[in-house]
């Protein structure tokens, strides 16, 4: 790890420590913002669950706490001082950054065993990727608000880093942990299997992809079962946590506004259509996995990136932390940015939505002069910006792949016929 990366990490740590100490009211303010904290990641709800857990009551009884039981055990084991908690979150962010820097160092985004981009010299240096994650205002806000999404992001990035290094088992375990914490990273499993298969250190010892995939899936399921079993014992021998954690992601009982698209739909939906639309919305996320894995077989890291981007838009309780993760992973593909067509539009729309979102939320909830439509319109604009970015990145990577076969088309306009 080079000096610049260390400087970036230290700067980020100092920045977070500075913000935690100089503005002690800031974490609570950010925790209460709906764009940053969702019902399944909020620190306030975690504290509520901790209180109930520590007093011998079931933490899932109140219908407020929807997070994994292992977090309860973790925070109970920690000494309860705010400095320790802040340090834990900062360390999680640092670990995420280290994983990202590791991924950037291997250069796998530009050259995989199956594909080498002609623009790989334009990739960002590792420290810049780390900076894109650590100094991203969305990441800083998520870390400051002590949302538990930080742990999920750490787990995902660690999984990718391990897989890129060719270590299958740690990668699977880390992905299992991230899926255990919040359900949706499980969608990255096929791509992660492909990635570790490609990056396997000893190609000579390789088994066929089918066997590899089956073994990995078994390991994943085993890890999930192990984690669920541990949760069963933590919550005092009951399976009720299953509905309160994964059931909430799937059935959407809590309709608190967030930057996603689901809450507004389901507030106004008649009960008889609820199950149908829940299935449709969940399936919508599921359908991308197969297509992306097949089309981008040569670049599984990009599949993971795109799936995380789609999750950031279409999962049940997204927040800006998911967007931060996606943008940081996307910075690994800096070499294809020149091929993207709508960067200015997408960036300005994203900025516009991030500024107007809190304003319209204030108008709706506090001033009372707006209504939910104002805020929902901004979340729609936010999703539009992200859609454009995801689609544009897909186009850019596809074009880059296509140009490796047709080097003469570099710099020329292409049109779909």
């Amino acid at each position: 790890m080079d000096r610049r990366s260390i400087i970036v990490i230290l700067t980020a740590v100092l920045l977070r420590l500075f913000l935690f100490t100089i503005f002690p009211a800031l974490p609570d303010l950010l925790t209460s913002r709906v764009e940053i904290s969702t019902p399944v990641t909020s620190y306030k709800r975690l504290k509520e669950g901790l209180y109930l857990y520590e007093h011998g009551l079931s933490p899932y009884n109140g219908g407020v706490f929807h997070q994994a039981p292992l977090l309860l055990a973790f925070f109970t084991a920690l000494p309860s001082s705010s400095i320790i908690t802040n340090l834990v979150y900062i360390l999680a962010d640092v670990q995420s950054a280290l994983s990202l820097i590791q991924i950037a160092n291997t250069g796998v985004s530009a050259s995989t065993p199956l594909h080498t981009s002609s623009r790989k010299d334009n990739s960002l240096p590792a420290w810049a990727v780390g900076a894109a994650f650590l100094l991203n205002p969305f990441t800083v806000a998520t870390c400051l608000s002590r949302s538990t999404l930080v742990f999920t992001n750490t787990a995902i990035l660690t999984a990718i880093a391990r897989a890129v290094n060719g270590e299958l088992l740690p990668g699977i375990l880390a992905l299992a942990m991230s899926a255990y914490l919040s359900l949706y990273p499980a969608l990255c499993l096929p791509a992660l299997i492909l990635l570790s298969y490609d990056m396997h250190k000893r190609p000579a010892l390789r088994v066929s992809l089918g066997v590899f995939a089956t073994t990995s899936t078994m390991l994943f399921i085993g890890a999930i079962i192990g984690l669920l079993g541990l949760s069963y014992s933590i919550t005092g021998g009951s399976w009720e946590f299953l509905y309160s954690t994964y059931g909430v992601h799937l059935m959407l009982p809590d309709l608190t506004p967030n930057v996603g698209l689901w809450w507004y739909f389901f507030i106004e939906m008649f009960d008889s259509f609820r199950d149908f639309f829940l299935c449709v919305f969940q399936l919508h996320l599921l359908i991308y996995v197969g297509g992306l894995c097949i089309r981008f077989r040569k670049q599984p890291l990009f599949v993971i990136t795109s799936i995380l981007g789609l999750c950031a838009m279409f999962k049940s309780y997204p927040s800006i932390g998911d967007t931060a993760l996606y943008i940081s992973l996307l910075s690994l593909y800096h070499h294809v940015f020149p091929l993207m067509r709508y960067t200015f539009f997408a960036t300005s729309t994203l900025l516009y939505a991030s500024l107007l979102g809190p304003a319209f939320y204030h108008l709706w909830i506090y001033a009372g002069s707006g209504n939910a439509n104002f805020f929902y319109a901004i979340t729609l604009v936010w999703c539009l910006a992200l859609t454009v970015i995801v689609a544009d990145a897909l186009y850019a990577v596809l074009r880059d792949e296509w140009e490796t076969e047709r080097p003469e088309m570099r710099g020329k306009d292409v049109m779909q016929i």
């Binding site: 520590e54 007093h55 011998g56 973790f74 740690p170 014992s233 005092g236």
Partner: protein, 383 residues
């Protein structure tokens, strides 16, 4: 228990009293303040004082019709919001939080008043706005406001004349809607209002005679207006000092004898020619209180009554003590009656003061297992 207590009360009454068909069996009160606006505070205080009096002597809200403009308690000019006082010492808040106004604001009109008395109301009028009296009801009608020679102003917009009230009372008599009536009125030239009555069993009293104004008693410097009228003040003084509970034996003659022109500063009048009982035999509680007498239908059948009452008391005991009743039933009929299921006592959830060490240990073990799995995997992966 209530049932049993009532039966217990009635039994001695039945034993001592013979057929009680000549007395009243219910008490109603119609209390009307015909003024609105802040400076007529004292009229509202008059009516509310009467309201509190009849309530404390036993008439329930369901048998009181209270007609007020009700614009004083929450008036922006009221320095004591939601409170109405009838005395400068502000010892008693007449408005309080236990008040039931039946006709308020612009509902207090001449038409509504006459419809109320004669029960010619819309089919969808709620029971609380109807005078559901019968021929054994004693009705106390109290009116206050601004009046004149044979008229009374309603809400500064219309008037009711003495003839109208007299006709309304006659309709009530025709429809058998009262047993005896006490009509009390505190306005200027009040006695003219009852001069036109022609129905039997009405006892009327007013605060001042023709060409005489009724005066207010005193004002409160903080409220800013007069808080009570003299006639009503001295009526209340008598009632509060002498008629303290339901067993009071004071008569209407005592009340009327207590009127002192020197104190009231106007000539109160009493009209008794339509009233067939002697005033020293009429209890104040007959009109102001809620003494209920029981009417016996069957004559000479006291033994049957005793048997019925005993059966009722047994029924009451069975209802209040189901266990005892069931046991009696079982022994009587010989068949087994299933006992009621034990009521499950729901206690409060047990909340521990701090985490049990076992929980802590399980948590730490779980975390340790995760960490161990991770390190093992890393080592395996590296090798």
């Amino acid at each position: 228990m209530k049932f049993g207590a009532q039966i217990a009360l009635l039994l001695p009454l039945l034993a001592t009293l013979p057929f009680v068909s000549a007395q009243h069996t219910s008490n109603w009160a119609v209390l009307v303040s015909t003024s609105r606006f802040w400076f007529n505070y004292r009229h509202l205080a008059n009516v509310l004082s009467m309201y509190r009096t009849v309530k404390r002597l036993g008439i329930p809200d369901s048998q009181i019709i209270l007609m007020l403009a009700d614009d004083v308690a929450c008036n922006p000019r009221n320095v004591f919001p939601a409170s109405v006082f009838n005395n400068a010492d502000r010892g008693l808040d007449l408005y309080g939080n236990n008040i039931e106004v039946d006709y308020r604001g612009y509902e207090v009109t001449v038409e509504n008043f006459i419809r109320l008395l004669t029960d010619r109301v819309e089919p969808d009028t709620p029971r609380s706005k109807r005078l559901l009296t019968d021929d054994r009801s004693n009705v106390f009608v109290y009116m206050t406001g601004h009046g004149g020679n044979e008229f009374l102003k309603f809400q500064d917009a219309e008037e009711i004349s003495a003839f109208d009230i007299a006709d309304a009372f006659e309709q009530m008599w025709e429809k058998k809607r009262y047993h005896q009536m006490l009509f009390m009125i505190d306005t200027c030239q009040a006695n003219t209002m009852y001069s036109k009555f022609y129905s039997p069993n009405i006892l009327a009293t007013g605060s001042s005679k023709l060409d005489e104004s009724s005066l207010s008693h005193h004002g409160d410097n903080d409220v800013g207006v007069a808080v009570i009228d003299r006639y009503t003040y001295y009526n209340l003084e008598f009632l509060e000092n002498n008629v303290k509970n339901a067993s009071s034996k004071h008569t209407m003659k005592d009340l009327f004898d207590s009127y002192d022109i020197g104190k009231i500063h106007s000539t109160p009048g009493v009209r008794t020619d339509l009233f067939n009982r002697k005033l020293d035999e009429v209890l104040i509680m007959d009109f102001f209180g809620n003494v209920q007498n029981v009417e016996v239908d069957a004559e000479g059948d006291v033994e049957k009554w005793k048997v019925d009452a005993e059966e009722l008391s047994r029924l009451a005991a069975k209802i209040t003590m189901p266990g005892a009743g069931c046991a009696k039933n079982a022994t009587k009929s010989g068949a087994t009656v299933p006992s009621p299921p034990d009521a499950q006592k729901i206690l409060a959830m047990k909340v521990e003061e701090k985490t049990s060490p076992i929980r802590n240990a399980i948590g730490v073990c779980a975390l340790g297992a995760c960490a161990a799995a991770w390190f093992a995997a890393t080592l395996l992966g590296k090798s």
